[in-house]
Amino acid sequence: MPADPELKTKVEEIIRDNDVLLLMKGTPEMPRCGFSMRLVGMLEQLGAEYGAVDVLPALDPLREATGEISDWRTFPQLYVKGQLVGGCDIVEEMFDSGELAGMLGVSQPVGAAAPEPERILPGGSQQSPPMQLG
């Protein structure tokens, strides 16, 4: 099924307008999936500023849209400067190696390790409010 062109354009705009963008299930305050929660935890630990979009209200249309935009249909997805970096697996590897901090232009916290799900405390000062898709 082809993506809704209007939604696809909207997603492309959001990706373009946010240097660091997380497409996630739930919100940074209340992630609704363990992988999304882990990604939020990593961004929070790095103190990165990021935009977040909750994909759950339009999950299937958004799968179609990101499938066409970046050939990736599962969430979460982290975009940096308009490029898809990856989902939880990839970002976790890059967090552990310090590559993620480098890519985001922040310093790696001392002794940082990718957070385990139970160690994450959702919420923090850096997060942007979730954006609405229309």
Partner: protein
Amino acid sequence: MADLDQVKRLIAESLPGAEVEVVDEGGGDHLRAVVSAPQFEGLSRIDQHRLVRSPVQHLMDDGTIHALSIRATDPTR
């Protein structure tokens, strides 16, 4: 319930020369693929993952595989 051997074979056939391991991480539909493939050389991680995912995408689309976590390594690095 995914057939682990089938998943492994699909990935291995699309990446000749690769070493592929597929394990069940829970419930038979949360799988983990550990893949080392010469084709990964010079690719970004996301492109390496795309190469692993693409031969089994149909199994993800139809729900046979609910989640596929991937560990991709470039044997030349």
